[in-house]
């Protein structure tokens, strides 16, 4: 069971959070994007071996959606590449 840093509550057990999935690129503008790019945005979820940026919802805590980098090989919560926070 991981220990996830919540920006408001500090380190809390994984069981207080709901998984929000890997962070996708920004939503493309539906007016200008191509069909292929839209489908790509919808269906291709980042699934790297190594650090992945993902969202968690502190649903049984303060309700914050937060973003962390997690190494999929070790579950270590790590500094992301060029991560500003």
């Amino acid at each position: 069971m991981m220990l996830i840093p919540c920006p408001f509550c500090g380190h809390r057990s994984e069981s207080e959070f709901a998984y929000g999935g890997p962070v996708k690129p920004d939503r493309p503008d539906p007016h200008t994007t191509s069909d292929e790019d839209w489908v790509e945005y919808l269906t291709t979820v980042p699934n790297p071996l190594g650090p992945v940026q993902e969202r968690w919802w502190h649903v049984k805590g303060c309700g914050t959606w937060l973003t962390i980098w997690r190494d999929t090989r070790t579950h270590d919560i790590v500094e992301g590449p060029g991560d500003a926070g």
Partner: protein
């Protein structure tokens, strides 16, 4: 008669005799015994039958490593497949051997031994292939005969799960662990110390060692007493750390609690640093007939003699490849057991060991090549490694020691890597990955002095304190020459690597010949190491046997993966009190009590809300009840409790554009006081939820959702606001439980609400359909909303929960002259089907979109963008055949169609063209009516289609999906 019990000594309380039954016979033991020690004290030698060949087996070990004797406990201790060596004896306990019928002495399955040569590794997989293994598996498993799970939950008591936090978690209260706990405790840190045995001391309980010139157990007692004085220390005995998970989270299962109503308590301990003082486990030697009752690990015999004051035999032979067995021989002889010989596979024996042996004859460079006696050891055959100098020695106990394996299970679970150590001939912890340190035997530090030292060092490092002066202790030496299995000429018969799963040296050889090359494959093919003991005494011998066969170093073979649990844990303990009713309690409305008093049949209706299904009257049949409730709504008036609907209050300057983004239709054009039905999609264009949005004020809205999807919608809104639109000014407050409502519906609804005495003008001009008004109803502050889920004139009266019961009773009172009936979920379902109102989970199943439901009008064309818009457009562009919502009238009006039944062309055995989503008895049409999703259904009205059932087809006419008041005049009235 405990005729194998020494009159004095041991960690047992002779003042507390305990009566117990084993395989139906009565015995007594003492407080402090395990089931195994009590059986040995009563000279019960044959205690089990083996898993595959049903060979007679006895007790081999003294702790969780026990590979042979598994028992099933009955009565209040009911549990399956427990190692007899870890069962704490209690008065009145009843245990049975698991793998034999009717008893280990007379076992019908023993006939398997005759065919043993025909049951090699992989026999079952190879033989029972056609048509599929799964056809045979249940019978084979049953023949294998391990105990089943208890059939009922425990009669008294419950399981518990708790969280704990520690700066330093110490696993194991042997010399290293106690020392570590003392150092960390004295430094004032929060210390959590857990040990699997009944009392602290670890290996010191089993041996006769000294610390600071006094018996080591005095030091143990003083240390435990000192820890007890420290409020910052939690010390648990009979508590196994069984899992080491990510981020230093460990699971500790505590048994034998002071509060006997707690059967077991599972601790989830999050630790700053973990000190693993889990000790080491002796592994066996592998030689022919090494599984006979009376063949025992040397360290186990030492434990039985010293800790339990039990004499495991009268005359013993000790077979070893290392020095530790010499101390055992010395202890046994001091207790009056005749040690006939020490057989040592090494040519050169260190003086350190020889000094222990005294005048016991030693045969160096020799091995045991066979054991006499089937149901009990009667003697051994010994020869030199090249087969010369064979001799037979009579004995009733054969002790063996193949070396010591550090208990690296938790370390390995923490993802720490292991390294093969040549001088110890075993795997030891290498680099740690998480914040943990291995000390003492767990780190391969096998002497007492080094255990104390490494324990103190690790705790000093963890707490940033100085290493204290250590008490003096013997620095025993230890040397070993690996012997993975005996293959001297003349050594014939089955030599077991894994005693529990009956895996022999030949099985491993066969697996390698057949190409199962990696240690993980060998494990799965032979099942070696897959028993309840997880190969604690045998796995390293398997690795050694593979290495030898392949001619590679053990490091290259490696170990199999260590996975939790370290020792078996009851499912109850893992679940704790998170039993269903506690984890997911039912949600109730203030009307529940009234419903029950009224005789309602209650069940769950989405998101754990417990609601009335229907209100039976007299000896009505189910359908009669539902019809009566439906007729009340259609003909006069009914009332239902709509409180469970999800409700969210949204405030802020940007709510308008936010709602326009999440609903498919335009919401921002609503004026205060107006409501609008809306649909929410997910970004991939599927329907997420439907509900009603109300504008309360310029920047204040109330959004209602379906009962089942309230939490989903909440998450959806929160995620969008926090991740996509963090700069939008929208605040979402869940108010599901802050607003309850009673919905009065039916042609007489207005008269009933008027009779309640209200200051709200209920006329259709002032309060038309899809409007709401705030005021008072029956003297209670209320909001009255004109929405309808039944197709009738409806007033949804919303009040605070504390007023709900009051309101409800007033409505029933006021409605009585009009024939009001309370309406349950069943009637609500009928009423919405008659109107063709969609229901998520029935008509909306994750494939349909709004157009399929005939609701294309709700997909705004004015808005450039909203969630799901692009995806719906994309999906519909291909002109693919869609399943569309239709109404069905069975040609025979008295035929009910099961919900979910498939529609096929002509009712033939062909691919389906749709399915029936709902079928109800319509009180307005006096017949069965159904809703269905049908391919191109919207252009097939008037056609006859066929429902294909198992033994019949049902013809039905297709029509528009609305059976009652298609213009919606009633609900607008």
């Amino acid at each position: 008669m405990q005729d194998r019990r020494f009159p004095t000594g041991g960690r047992i309380d002779r003042g507390q005799p305990l009566a117990f039954r084993f395989n139906g016979k009565e015995y007594t033991g003492f407080s402090g015994d395990t089931l195994a020690s009590a059986l040995l004290a009563n000279n019960v030698r044959l205690t089990a039958r083996s898993f595959k060949y049903h060979r007679p087996r006895g007790i081999v070990g003294s702790g969780p490593e026990e590979p042979a004797t598994l028992v099933e406990l009955d009565g209040r201790h009911a549990s399956a497949n427990q190692a007899a060596t870890t069962v704490r004896l209690e008065d009145g306990m009843a245990a049975r051997s698991v793998n034999c019928w009717p008893s280990p002495g007379l076992d019908v399955g023993a006939v398997n031994q005759l065919f043993a040569g025909l049951i090699p590794a992989g026999f079952y997989y190879k033989t029972f292939k056609w048509p599929g293994w799964h056809l045979y598996e249940p019978t084979i498993r049953k023949a294998a005969g391990l105990a089943g799970a208890p059939e009922a939950p425990p009669l008294d008591g419950h399981f518990e799960a708790v969280h704990a936090h520690a700066d330093v978690l110490v696993v194991g209260a042997g010399p290293a662990g106690l020392m570590a706990a003392l150092v960390a405790g004295r430094a004032g840190r929060r210390v959590f110390l857990a040990d699997e045995r009944i009392e602290a001391g670890g290996s010191l309980l089993d041996r006769r060692l000294e610390i600071a010139g006094r018996p080591a157990l005095d030091w143990v007692a003083e240390s435990v007493a000192e820890l007890e004085t420290m409020p910052n220390v939690t010390h648990l005995q009979d508590a196994s750390a069984w899992a080491y998970r990510e981020h230093n989270c460990l699971m500790v299962n505590e048994r034998s609690l002071v509060n006997s109503t707690v059967l077991e308590r599972n601790w989830r301990v999050r630790a700053g640093r973990v000190i693993l003082a889990t000790g080491a486990i002796e592994r066996g030697l592998v030689f022919p007939q090494n599984d006979r009752p009376g063949v025992m690990l040397a360290s186990a015999a030492q434990a039985y003699v010293n800790r339990f004051a039990v004499k495991p035999g009268e005359r013993t032979v000790v077979f070893a490849n290392n020095d530790s067995a010499y101390g055992v021989a010395s202890d046994l002889r001091a207790s009056g057991i005749d040690v006939a010989a020490i057989v040592d596979s090494r040519d050169v024996i260190p003086d350190f060991a020889r000094n222990f042996a005294g005048d016991i004859p030693i045969r160096a460079g020799a091995v045991v090549v066979g054991v006499r006696g089937r149901r009990a050891v009667r003697g051994v055959a010994v020869a030199e490694r090249d087969g010369r100098g064979a001799e037979k020695i009579d004995c009733d106990l054969l002790l063996h020691s193949g070396g010591w394996n550090p208990t690296v299970h938790l370390f390995s679970q923490s993802r720490g890597r292991l390294r093969y150590d040549d001088s110890l001939a075993t795997f030891v912890p290498d680099e740690a990955v998480q914040a943990c340190a291995s000390v003492g035997g767990a780190a391969g530090e096998l002497s007492l002095a080094s255990a104390l030292r490494t324990g103190a060092e690790a705790a000093a490092k963890a707490t940033g304190t100085k290493i204290p002066d250590l008490p003096a202790a013997t620095e025993e030496s230890y040397s070993i020459a690996p012997l993975w299995h005996v293959d001297a000429p003349g050594a014939k018969g089955k030599a077991f690597l894994d005693i529990q799963n009956d895996v022999t040296v030949d099985d491993v050889r066969l697996a390698l010949i057949e190409g199962y090359d990696s240690v993980e494959h060998v494990k799965r093919y032979t099942t070696g190491g897959m028993g309840f003991d997880q190969g604690k005494t045998g796995n390293v011998n398997i690795v050694g046997t593979i290495a030898r066969q392949k001619g590679v170093p053990l490091q290259d073979v490696g170990t199999t993966t260590f996975r939790p649990p370290y020792t078996p844990v009851s499912f109850g303990a893992i679940g704790g009190i998170r039993e269903e009713s506690v984890v997911l309690p039912y949600r109730h409305t203030p009307v529940t009590r009234w419903n029950l008093d009224r005789g309602a049949f209650m069940y769950e209706a989405g998101a754990r809300w417990r609601r009335p299904g229907y209100f039976p009257c007299g000896d009505e049949m189910f359908q009669e009840t539902v019809n009566r409730e439906c007729r009340a709504v259609r003909e006069c008036v009914g009332v239902y409790d709509g409180s469970p609907l999800g409700k969210f209050e949204l405030k802020g300057r940007d709510v308008d554009r936010f709602l326009d983004h999440i609903y498919t239709n335009l919401m921002s054009t609503l004026k205060p006081g107006q409501c609008r039905y809306g649909l929410m999609l997910t970004e991939d264009g599927l329907i997420l939820d439907d509900g009603v949005a109300m504008r309360l004020g310029e920047h204040r809205w109330l959004v209602s959702t379906s009962t089942a999807h309230a939490d989903t919608v909440h998450g959806h809104m929160d995620e969008l606001l926090q991740t996509q639109f963090p700069d939008w000014n929208v605040h979402v407050t869940p108010v599901t439980s802050q607003w309850n409502n009673a919905t009065v519906c039916g042609p007489k609804a207005r008269e009933v609400v008027a009779a309640l005495d209200t200051d709200i003008d209920l006329s259709p001009e002032e309060l038309p359909f899809m409007r709401f008004a705030d005021g008072h109803v029956a003297g209670l502050p209320a909001r009255v909303v004109r929405v309808s889920f039944t197709g009738e004139l409806s007033f949804e009266i919303n009040v605070a929960p504390r007023h709900m019961r009051d309101l409800w009773e007033r409505i029933m009172e006021a409605g009585e002259p009009f024939g009001i009936e309370p309406v349950g979920s069943e009637a609500s379902h009928v009423l919405r089907v008659e109107k063709g109102f969609l229901s998520l989970g029935h008509e909306v199943d994750g494939t349909v979109d709004a157009h399929d439901l005939g609701m294309g009008w709700i997909m705004s064309k004015k808005k450039g963008d909203y969630v799901g818009k692009r995806s719906v457009e994309l999906r519909r562009r291909g002109n693919a055949i869609r399943r569309e919502l239709v109404g069905l009238l069975p040609v025979d009006p008295n035929v009910q169609i099961p919900e979910g039944a498939p529609l096929t062309p002509g009712g033939e055995t062909r691919p389906t063209e749709g399915l029936v989503t709902a079928c109800v008895w319509s009180v307005v049409l006096d017949r069965w009516v159904a809703l269905a999703l049908l391919e191109n259904g919207q252009s097939r009205h008037g056609e006859t289609v066929h429902v294909r059932l198992k033994n019949a087809t049902v013809a039905a006419d297709v029509m528009a999906p609305v059976f009652y008041d298609p213009e919606g005049r009633k609900m607008r009235s």
